[in-house]
């Protein structure tokens, strides 16, 4: 049974009226107007006491199945789903932030050290008059501002904004004054005044709008401000106005002894910086270079921590994962757009899946109790919905009729999947395979039949590793075979950490680990001695055990994969946790007005099918939207449309589709009545023509005639 959550509120009671334009026409010409205000009771309801009341109602609903009206139940379930989303996403979001911050931490520390070194250099160079704003230093050597260049590895700066914000926080908490200037502050329109104002406002929040450099100098001379360097972060230098930026740097360089400013500049390449600033200004900067981690590395960490490691109660299906991978690799390669897509997937899941409010159960320690509590109070509709899920139907042969047990089993399977995938990822890191690729392969539902069912059918993996799923996983297995024993030992150590929670796995891993550990431990001291005497001997001793141990490890990995790498899409009830609707995600994420609006016009009939217009061709064409007729006529022209011809073909088309009018126009031209009718007809056709052209102009599909070519319109979009 397909249950749609869209029944939650009844918006259907009133039809949308397209004709009551007269009463709102006043509003149409207002720049803006307040359509309505929230009713006062909304404020009340949102106040904590009534929030509690709603909460109680939800609890009641969950504790005992209430036979309330369907609509009210639906609204409450929707509220539950919304809360579940907020809960899940806030956890994912904080993990993302944490992971990204971790990656940058080493860089931040390097920058901090450098900033303080530069600060002390400035201090040591100017011992006199430091505590007074005047006089400013005159020597050329003293006019260089230390500047850290952070090379951002992205074409798009959007990913780095978060990093710069984090850096700001880091520097602030480590004893710096920090100001953050964006390209908007450093623009021709606002000039240098706006840079200074923004700088000063960030240093002194209660400052007035009037500001000059001596004012900043005297602020800095105060005792409480004096001991700290001032770090000025400019996140995206290339977007700044070069002239204003050059002036700003020149001016500050005059004051560097009084106001020890240290720049932190985000820039893509060194050449870009040289192009931006004249050499005289470059001379005022004392550069030091730092480099950010690559987006791919960041992405790998995100995959590991957000999609593999913990279960937040939200998973993505194979097709969605492939889409996200392609979106990242081919769209713009930014983490930001990847995260946005992930969030949108999450929203779509919680808004579309009626049982998604069960997702947070994944995070509970005693998840079975949590779920059984919720499942008991499920309404009959939802219960039958759960057992009608395709995945549940498939697994019905087992006769498992308990929802909460099914969910717990799913959680267990998911945990094992996650553990074994983490083992794979460890190998991936060693062989430089992207985690995103391994991840996409590991959630492929066809994998399930390949690994589990084909256990007997597949040839021994030692013989033809390439035939197993042909991709990254088999590469990883091969890598295990080739690892030197030290790395193999380390790898198994990592594996035993990852598999510690799944007892069955843990045993197998420990067994192999000890096998590898024992001989190597026994050998180490001896080997060291042997190496001293004769290097060849030691290496040959090691070679003997190597293939055996590597094969053992590889076999272990294969057997773990076969037993535990069960993709979520092959587990009963996975629909509750797993988002699979890739087409809805795609359409919500990437709107393509350029081709879609043209498509609308060319296929208007599909949207406007009414009951009356499906009989004959000309009847159909009479109901086609005027603008759609005009646009399909325009397809016959090149990039220029002759107005006269276009008008006449439109007129012909309209008259053909309206035979009555045509007959009148043809047969009674002589009579007065006929003439006036024909004129009336002509007027209305011209009016319709004008209106359609205006509508095409609004959509931007055509451009109005230029003075040079008054009789031609220009087509702008071509997507026949």
């Amino acid at each position: 049974m397909a249950l749609s959550p869209s029944t939650t509120c009844d918006f259907h009671s009133s039809p949308i009226s397209t004709s009551n334009a007269s009463d709102v026409s006043d509003n149409n010409l207002q720049h803006f107007f307040v359509l309505h205000k929230a009713p006062a009771r909304k404020c009340e309801r949102k106040s904590s006491s009534t929030y509690r009341r709603t909460k109680r109602k939800i609890d009641m609903l969950l504790s005992s199945p209430i036979k309330d009206t369907q609509e009210e139940n639906d609204a409450i379930y929707e509220q539950l789903r919304l809360e579940a989303f907020e809960n899940t996403w806030s956890k994912i979001n904080s993990t993302v932030k944490e992971v990204l911050r971790e990656i940058n931490l080493t860089l931040f520390e390097e920058i901090r050290q450098w900033v303080f070194e530069s600060f002390s250099t400035i201090r040591s160079a100017s011992p006199v008059h430091m505590m007074k704003p005047y006089p400013i230093a005159a020597g050329a050597t003293c006019k260089r501002i230390p500047a850290a260049l952070i090379f951002t590895k992205n074409i798009e700066f959007v990913d780095d904004m978060l990093m710069f914000q984090d850096l700001k926080g880091y520097m602030q908490s480590n004893g710096c004054h920090v100001a953050f200037l964006s390209a908007l502050d450093i623009s021709t329109k606002c000039g240098i005044g706006s840079c200074l104002r923004s700088l000063y406002k960030q240093l002194v929040p209660e400052a007035s709008d009037v500001v000059d450099v001596p004012l900043i100098a005297s602020w800095y001379c105060k005792d409480e401000n004096y001991d700290k360097p001032i770090a000025v972060i400019i996140e995206d230098m290339e977007r700044c106005d070069s002239a204003v930026l050059a002036d700003f740097i020149k001016m500050l360089s005059e004051w560097v002894m009084k106001i020890p400013i240290i720049f932190i500049l985000g820039v893509t390449t060194f050449d870009a910086l040289r192009k931006l600033l004249p050499s005289s200004v470059m001379h005022n900067l004392q550069l030091c270079k730092f480099t950010l981690e690559s987006p791919i590395r960041r992405m790998d960490s995100l995959i590991e921590y957000v999609l593999v490691r913990p279960s937040f109660g939200f998973f993505i299906g194979h097709k969605v994962a492939l889409f996200l991978r392609n979106h990242f690799l081919r769209h713009d390669g930014t983490i930001t757009s990847f995260l946005k897509a992930l969030k949108l997937a999450c929203v779509k899941h919680f808004s579309g899946e009626p049982l998604s409010f069960l997702c947070p159960g994944m995070l509970h320690d005693d998840c079975e109790a949590f779920w059984s509590g919720k499942c008991e109070s499920l309404s009959e509709v939802l219960r039958s919905y759960a057992f009608d899920l395709p995945s549940c139907q498939r697994g019905k042969t087992t006769g498992d009729n308990n929802l909460s047990q099914g969910l717990s089993k799913l959680k267990w399977l998911q945990n094992s999947w996650s553990s074994v995938l983490l083992c794979l990822l460890e190998v991936g890191k060693l062989s430089k395979i992207q985690l995103l690729d391994i991840f996409c392969e590991a959630i492929d539902p066809t994998l399930c039949s390949g690994w589990a069912l084909g256990q007997q059918l597949l040839p021994p993996l030692t013989a033809s590793h390439d035939s197993v799923n042909g991709g990254f996983i088999s590469q990883a297995i091969q890598k295990v075979r080739e690892l030197p024993s030290d790395s193999l030992c380390q790898l198994l150590g990592q594996w035993s950490l990852h598999t510690a929670e799944v007892i069955e796995m843990d045993k197998e891993v420990k067994a192999v680990h000890s096998m590898i550990n024992l001989p190597s431990d026994g050998h180490t001291s001896k080997e060291k001695q042997t190496v001293n005497i004769n290097g060849c001997l030691a290496s040959s001793a090691r070679k003997k055990g190597k293939p055996f141990l590597n094969d053992e490890a590889a076999m272990l990995l294969v057997s773990l994969l076969r037993k535990f790498l069960v993709p979520i899409e092959s587990v009963p009830f996975h629909e509750i946790f797993c988002f699979k609707d890739v087409s809805s995600l795609k359409s919500a994420l990437i709107g393509d007005p350029r081709s879609v609006i043209q498509d609308d016009l060319l296929k208007s009939g599909e949207y406007l099918q009414s009951t009356s217009c499906s009989r004959r061709e000309h009847v159909l064409s009479s109901s086609i939207h005027d603008t759609a007729i005009m646009y399909s006529l325009a397809q016959e022209y090149g990039d220029l449309i002759n107005l006269h011809d276009w008008y006449h073909s439109f007129k012909t088309k309209v008259l053909i589709s309206n035979p009555k009018a045509k007959r009148k126009a043809q047969h009674s031209p002589a009579s007065e009545k006929g003439k006036s009718k024909a004129l009336e007809n002509e007027v209305s056709i011209q009016a319709r023509f004008c209106k359609a052209v205006t509508e095409l102009q609004i959509t931007g599909l055509i451009r109005m005639p230029s003075k040079r070519r008054p009789d031609f319109l220009q087509r702008i979009a071509f997507n026949l």
């Binding site: 039809p15 720049h31 209305s684």
Partner: protein, 373 residues
């Protein structure tokens, strides 16, 4: 990347590439067609027996949309999605509606049926000029009202009156809108923007302000676009972190009634004379002071029909007397606005002085004045 992955990627994208090929092929085909058709057809617009502009305008306003039932059914079919839209909105995304047809009725219907629990402000982005600051001030006031209602404590203390909001800079206002309200979830002001790609909002400054407004924690945006190139208005930062769009394809095929008013008719005699109606509409979209300045000029012109125009300084003195403007700068800004919309022209008086006049006939002016009221 290994070969397999590359192939799988290539297969995924094959469709897209084909589309791209098709696109470029179509473009060149069109160019070719264009050059050949230009040779063939040089027919002039004047060969059509054009009707009078007034008649044409009247006829345009009387066109009944074809297939009203179909349009209505289409609009009704979107009602099913309202609850999902609301859900997405509550999760922090902005809604962006696109597809052919006016979405004005659809958005306002959505706002007045599904967003009844929230304050809703509507911006008519299709108008030729829009000032964003009053919108921000109004949103700030609405938020303040809500907070006061929530606090239920004496309103005397920290109350910021309207006057105070007006004096704040737009940056300070945005900071106010972005302030987190403790203990309160799901309380925001909805901003409906018809045609966020409209002529008055196309400049980057307006879009920046809208984007900054959209990312305030207490504001949610529901917008519509009609232009095929509208996405070019935004960079990655605006799209992903500020507007945070969730796209919806909702073709309505409803006539662009309000949106099309400001476009000249292609078969009308062109740019020569603005008729009274268009002038009225433009004037109505200006503020009352600007309207009064225009009235002063119109009244002078009607009283001195034979004069070449009204000298600039006379206009300034008259406007000052009536407290319509306080400085020449303010007056000039009004005059520029009139000039931009073709409502005002200047010529040299016989004594060398610059004169201002309205390029409309006396009848049109009289009608205009009576329309303005």
């Amino acid at each position: 990347m290994d070969l397999n992955a590359f192939e799988s990627l290539a297969m995924d994208e094959e469709g897209d590439e084909e589309e791209e090929f098709g696109f470029s092929r179509n473009y060149f085909l069109a160019r070719e067609l264009g050059s050949s058709s230009r040779k063939k057809s040089g027919r002039k617009l004047s060969e059509i027996d054009l009707v009078d502009e007034q008649v044409l305008r009247a006829a345009v306003s009387e066109i009944r949309p074809k297939n009203e039932a179909g349009i209505e059914a289409l609009l009704r079919s979107y009602k099913d999605q309202y609850s999902k839209w609301l859900f997405v909105l509550r999760c922090g995304f902005g809604l962006l509606m696109y597809g052919f047809g006016s979405k004005k009725v659809l958005l306002e219907d959505f706002a007045s049926t599904a967003l009844t629990d929230y304050d809703v402000i509507v911006i008519n982005g299709y108008l030729p000029s829009i000032n964003i600051k009053p919108v921000v001030v109004t949103i700030a006031e609405l938020l303040q009202d809500k907070q006061q209602c929530r606090r239920k404590v004496s309103t005397g203390n920290k109350q910021r009156t309207q006057q105070q909001f007006n004096t704040l800079s737009i940056d300070d206002l945005l900071t106010y809108l972005n302030e987190e309200v403790e203990d309160v979830k799901d309380s925001f002001v909805c901003l409906v923007i018809h045609n966020i790609d409209g002529p008055a909002l196309r400049d980057s400054e307006s879009q920046q302000y809208l984007a900054r407004m959209a990312c305030c924690s207490n504001v949610r945006v529901i917008a519509s676009i009609d232009h095929v190139n509208a996405p070019l208005l935004w960079d990655k930062k605006m799209v992903h972190t500020q507007f945070n769009w969730c796209w919806y394809h909702v073709p309505t095929f409803a006539p662009y009634k309000a949106e099309g008013v400001f476009f000249p008719l292609i078969l009308a005699s062109g740019t020569a004379a603005q008729c009274a109606r268009t002038a009225t509409i433009v004037l109505q979209s200006l503020n009352p002071n600007a309207q009064s300045v225009f009235k002063v000029l119109a009244e002078y012109q009607l009283a001195n029909e034979k004069a070449e125009g009204m000298p600039g300084n006379t206009l300034y003195t008259k406007c000052r007397e009536r407290f319509l403007v306080s400085s020449q700068v303010t007056l000039n800004s009004h005059l520029t606005e009139f000039r931009d919309h073709g409502l005002l022209k200047a010529r040299k008086h016989s004594d060398g002085q610059d004169c201002l006049y309205i390029p409309l006939s006396s009848e049109a002016l009289q009608k205009l004045l009576s329309d303005l009221g």
